[in-house]
């Protein structure tokens, strides 16, 4: 039997008691829930996760976290904001504070986050922010399996602008489960750029939800990178709620070993004259599993919508699996919508061309993989971030060579 809910999970009474808060009464989605069909949570639910213990001591940002030139770093350890590790001098245009987490009901994981998130890291963007904000979420389990629930709330006032970078990383230790929720409200005519990198420990769980609204004339540009973890998912739900809003949502993943990564996107066109485009690219090796589920919903009112999505995956070996499910739900008649999906392998003619110039096969393959991911990564409009993400992918490829 495939139950639609997993009721037996470690996030009930005992978990709440540790934290001294009211318990979460919900359940985790089971494999019968359509959106979770390809990403089973049973293995997660079986682990005796507890909240992060107080005595886990992190006194520095891990060195492999990239330094984005000119960015201010804000650090969360196990979901808790750490002023002592964070930078200062935010400059004009943005305020940061710790806010309350609204117990608003959403999906299971959003509700779970709301029940246990300590506070939100809230960013209030009032004008064109001078500095890039780099949020670093560190998972540190210590001696027991640890679950934590980072919460980021971004409110960009009308006409404001900001660039955010998010790095999700972990320290070696026991298994951890990061359950981050980010809510991003892009005000009228505001512009938010957000670049997220998930490079968790190979034993880690990471189930992220992004809830984005883009008001009239607003621009949202995002790039999400997934480089590993045992079970990772980046669910991104975007609602275009005003006319002439534009969204560019792109992503890439590179998986090996037994890693699992799931991109689930929902693009909700509620109003006319909006555009959205999505380019997702994946590279899979080992026994890994990549998932892309992309839903585009165009409401009856949303005439003159232009919505596109594309997913392409490259197999580096025969072992991995890919599940790809595009869904178009279109209720308006005067729209342009397109989706495309393809999988392939490295082209032997390309390999030979590079090798015939003296490039060894390993390096040739790395060049081709970077090249394959390039048209997604090149969508990142901030050069320093783009370079960093390219370097992160390069490092991922080097780890492959080292195996």
């Amino acid at each position: 039997m495939k139950p639609s809910l997993i009721t037996d999970h470690p996030f009930g009474e005992a978990y709440a008691k540790h934290l001294g808060v009211a318990p979460w009464r919900g359940d985790l989605p089971g494999p019968k829930v359509e959106e979770w069909r390809f990403t089973p949570l049973r293995s997660l639910a079986k682990i005796a996760f507890a909240p992060a213990s107080e005595d886990v001591d992190v006194d520095a940002i891990p060195r492999n976290v990239p330094r984005i030139p000119g960015a201010v770093r804000l650090v969360l350890v196990n979901g808790v904001y750490r002023q002592d590790l964070s930078g200062t001098g935010l400059g004009k245009g943005v305020e940061v504070f710790q806010g309350k987490v609204a117990a608003k009901q959403g999906s299971s994981l959003v509700a779970l986050n709301a029940a246990y998130a300590p506070a939100s890291l809230a960013l209030h963007v009032t004008a064109a922010a001078k500095k890039v904000i780099h949020i670093i979420s560190i998972g540190a389990a210590g001696s027991q399996p640890t679950a934590f629930h980072p919460r980021i709330n971004v409110t960009a006032e009308p006409g404001s602008a900001i660039t955010l970078v998010e790095s999700h990383v972990g320290l070696p230790g026991e298994t951890y489960f990061s359950n981050p929720v980010a809510t991003i409200a892009v005000g009228e005519g505001a512009s938010v750029r957000r670049y997220v990198s998930v490079d968790e420990d190979s034993e880690a769980f990471h189930l992220a939800t992004s809830l984005v609204t883009v008001a009239g004339g607003g621009n949202y540009e995002a790039f999400h990178l997934g480089l590993g973890g045992a079970l990772t998912r980046q669910e991104i739900r975007i609602a275009l709620t005003g006319e002439n809003a534009n969204v560019r949502l792109n992503g890439a993943y590179a998986l090996r070993g037994a890693s699992h990564h799931d991109f689930t996107t929902v693009m909700d066109h509620a109003m006319p004259h909006c555009t959205s485009s999505q380019v997702f690219k994946g590279v899979v090796d080992g026994e890994s599993h990549g998932v892309y589920q992309g839903r585009i919903h165009v409401a009856r009112l949303a005439q003159k919508t232009d919505a596109r999505q594309e997913h392409k995956a490259l197999f580096l070996s025969r072992g991995p699996a890919i599940d790809c499910k595009p869904e178009l739900e279109i209720y308006a008649d005067d729209v342009q919508c397109a989706h495309g999906a393809a999988t392939g392998e490295i082209d032997e003619n390309h390999m030979f061309y590079l090798e015939s110039r003296g490039i060894d096969p390993e390096t040739a393959r790395a060049l081709l993989v970077e090249g394959f991911l390039a048209d997604a990564v090149n969508e990142i409009s901030v050069e320093a971030v783009r370079d960093q993400f390219v370097a992160d992918i390069g490092n991922w490829l080097k780890r492959r060579g080292a195996q």
Partner: protein, 251 residues
Amino acid sequence: MALLEIKNLHASVAGKEILKGVTLALEPGEVHAIMGPNGTGKSTLSNVIAGREGYEVTKGQVLLDGEDVLAMAADERARAGIFLAFQYPVEIPGVTTSAFLKTALNAKRRAAGEKEIDAMEFMKLVKKKTEALGMPYDMIKRALNVGFSGGEKKRAEVLQMTMLEPRVAILDETDSGLDIDALRVVSDGVNSLRAPDRAFLVITHYQRLLDYIVPDHVHVLANGRIAASGGKELALELEAEGYAKYLNAAA
């Protein structure tokens, strides 16, 4: 010792024998031209020398400075100094020409025990080489060969050759697709590389190229063998008379 020596080379593709005993020796400093009808095995010969998979060598040898080329992987052959300018260069999306050139150049440098080229030095070198070939510098920012016109692709092949400075360069119909001016520019590029310790194997259908790149020897490849060899006047004769006599003789 010959720089490149091809001895009684037999090779098959998909079970069909294409090369049926090719013998050819390139002495250092020489330019050899190969002409011959379509489908006669000219590209097969160049691919076998460069190390493309899918060709089965059933007999014979290829030696570079006396070393067994056929025992080397394709990338090793290139680092040892073999370069093939392809008849049909492939387009590689996402990989910029500059990243590719730099990687190839550094692979060669590392193999020679030299240090990698730095960014400034690389830029200067590329500027110089692209200018000499009449290519816009910005072209190297584009993905390798993607959307290049036929002639631009051929120029890009020669650019790679002038950057990598091989010991033996095989040009497989590099002249096809070039306009009249480009033919001269590309030939100048090749001639600028002519050196006492380097040899060229120039495959072409047109005698015109050989007015610019003057060969020491001209060979006719017909039915998988060298059917005739001569000086540059052989090319003129072929231009006038065609290949009929060699095809009949070989049949």
